[in-house]
């Protein structure tokens, strides 16, 4: 129970700052509105209340976002185009696909790099360079190029997730596959173990803790990749589409609710990887 209080306190502070910011940011427009309506009899209590219920506030208050999320998740049918669950599931599917491809690609690259010195020298700089290019710049090109060769729908977006998520896996797994101690490698040598046996019985199990740490980062940025990938697709569906549509029409509440949904989704995904991490490590006897 004692661990709840620090979290609750921080949450409380965030809400306090948010409400205060909402009041100050929305106040000029509200006073303007009073002026246009030739109202001079407004009180400060009225002003405070009105800044919290604008239709297109500069910064929506937390409860406005909460109501919007409630209405677009619980009260809407999942099949509805206005359901946040529908949009989140679109984003989630390309996130998971991209994460899966990215993790597999990352592991394969790491294995190649660890076993081949020249690949280490030739691949690693390109892998690092790939991440210095702003994803926002390269995402539309990937979508357009893939579209030109007939790949549409889920895959192009998933590729952008892949592009971001393979990187932490490569870096983590290169480190992980290299952690075995000399003494363990010597033991393998005295047993005349084949390279495959050394990999499977020593390098791979040693790298598992690194794999999960990398995957926690990878799944979070895979979600970012999926959202970015939705922006240049013409904003049809997905959390990215909700963000884009919201900004076209000045629907700030919609933007914020999509943002909150995205961060909740990320939190759940990272927590799931963390859970898998604990289960696997416990079964391997690595967690005490």
């Amino acid at each position: 129970m004692t661990r709840i209080w620090p979290v609750a306190f921080v949450l409380l502070c965030i809400f306090a700052i948010w409400y205060a910011a909402a009041f100050f940011l929305n106040r000029p427009f509200q006073i303007d509105t009073y002026g246009r309506a030739d109202r001079t009899d407004w009180t400060h209590a009225e002003l405070l209340a009105d800044t919290m219920r604008q239709e297109r506030p500069v910064l929506p208050a937390p409860h406005q976002v909460a109501v919007e999320i409630w209405q677009t998740t619980i009260e809407k049918k999942i099949t509805s185009k206005r359901s946040l669950v529908y949009h989140a599931s679109i984003t989630l599917s390309s996130t998971l696909l991209g994460f899966l491809i990215g993790t597999t690609l990352g592991i394969l690259l790491a294995v190649a790099i660890v076993h081949n010195r020249s690949l280490d020298a030739s691949l690693m700089p390109w892998i690092i360079a790939s991440q210095t290019i702003p994803i926002l710049a390269i995402a539309p090109m990937i979508i357009v190029v893939l579209n030109a060769i007939g790949i549409q729908g889920l895959l192009p977006k998933a590729f952008i997730s892949t592009y971001l998520s393979f990187f932490p896996v490569v870096v983590g797994m290169v480190k992980g596959l290299r952690t075995p101690e000399v003494i363990h490698l010597d033991l393998m040598r005295t047993w005349n173990a084949s390279p495959w046996q050394v990999f499977w019985n020593l390098r791979w199990p040693s790298s598992i803790p690194f794999l999960f740490t990398s995957m926690k980062i990878a799944i979070a940025i895979a979600l970012v990749g999926a959202i970015v990938g939705e922006l240049p697709t013409g904003a049809v569906a997905g959390l990215g589409a909700r963000l884009l549509a919201g900004s076209y029409y000045g629907q700030t509440i919609q933007i914020w609710s999509a943002l909150v949904a995205a961060s909740l989704l990320a939190a759940v995904l990272v927590a799931l990887v963390g859970l898998a991490d604990r289960i696997v490590l416990r079964r391997m006897g690595l967690q005490r």
């Binding site: 101690e181 003494i183 363990h184 010597d186 033991l187 393998m188 040598r189 005295t190 047993w191 005349n192 173990a193 046996q197 019985n201 020593l202 199990p205 598992i208 391997m284 006897g285 690595l286 005490r288």
Partner: protein, 263 residues
Amino acid sequence: MSVDSSTVIEVGDLSLTFEAADGPVHALSHIDLRVQKGDFVSLIGPSGCGKTTLLRVIADLERPSSGQISINGVSPEAARLARAYGYVFQAAALFPWRNIARNVALPLEIMGIDRKERNERVRRNLGLVNLAGFEKKFPWQLSGGMQQRASIARALAVEPDLLLMDEPFGALDEIVRDHLNEQLLALWAKTGKTVVFVTHSIPEAVFLSTHIVVMSPRPGRIHDVVVSDLPRERTLDVRETPEFLALAHRVREGLRAGHSYDD
């Protein structure tokens, strides 16, 4: 080099030089050594005398710069490929994600021994080192001494005739060490294996060995080979006898004459 069937290790004029950044290091210089079947040979000397390096050369973990060496009449590499020896390191070096039984089984899995035979050997060798009942424990759940015993069981499970041990009890406290020394001696008497044992403890070397190879550093070389006249069956009490003390004295003198106490 003439090798009769009772010779396990034959080393002739063997040298090993490491090329370090600040010049060559003569780790081993003109080593001659013969180990007979059933011998318990200790390599003793201070740090840097090459005792571990010599053991690693025997195990084909290092290549000599010059000289001859044969294990069971073949090269160290051929002996290693034939899995002719078991090697015990200073650290237990158990695999943390495998329980004790699966740790002992690992070399057997690598050798492609079937499950039934594997289980039988695991059971038998864990019994030999008094670890029956700890099969399902993970290494971190065992004390240092128990971990080292598990690693000895792992080396024994390969069923080698030759056991190479590199200061296996160096990191353990005196009491555990005495106990394991006694167990090792009993094991050796029971199995008749050939053992090459690296140590820097004079009582340990004298207590365990039939032959004590006294080495000295810079360059690493053999100063003296002390042949023990103690009976093969010994208990810790043997350490109080005049014969034991005389042997220990001779080893100590050898170490001193080899300028091992200079620094």
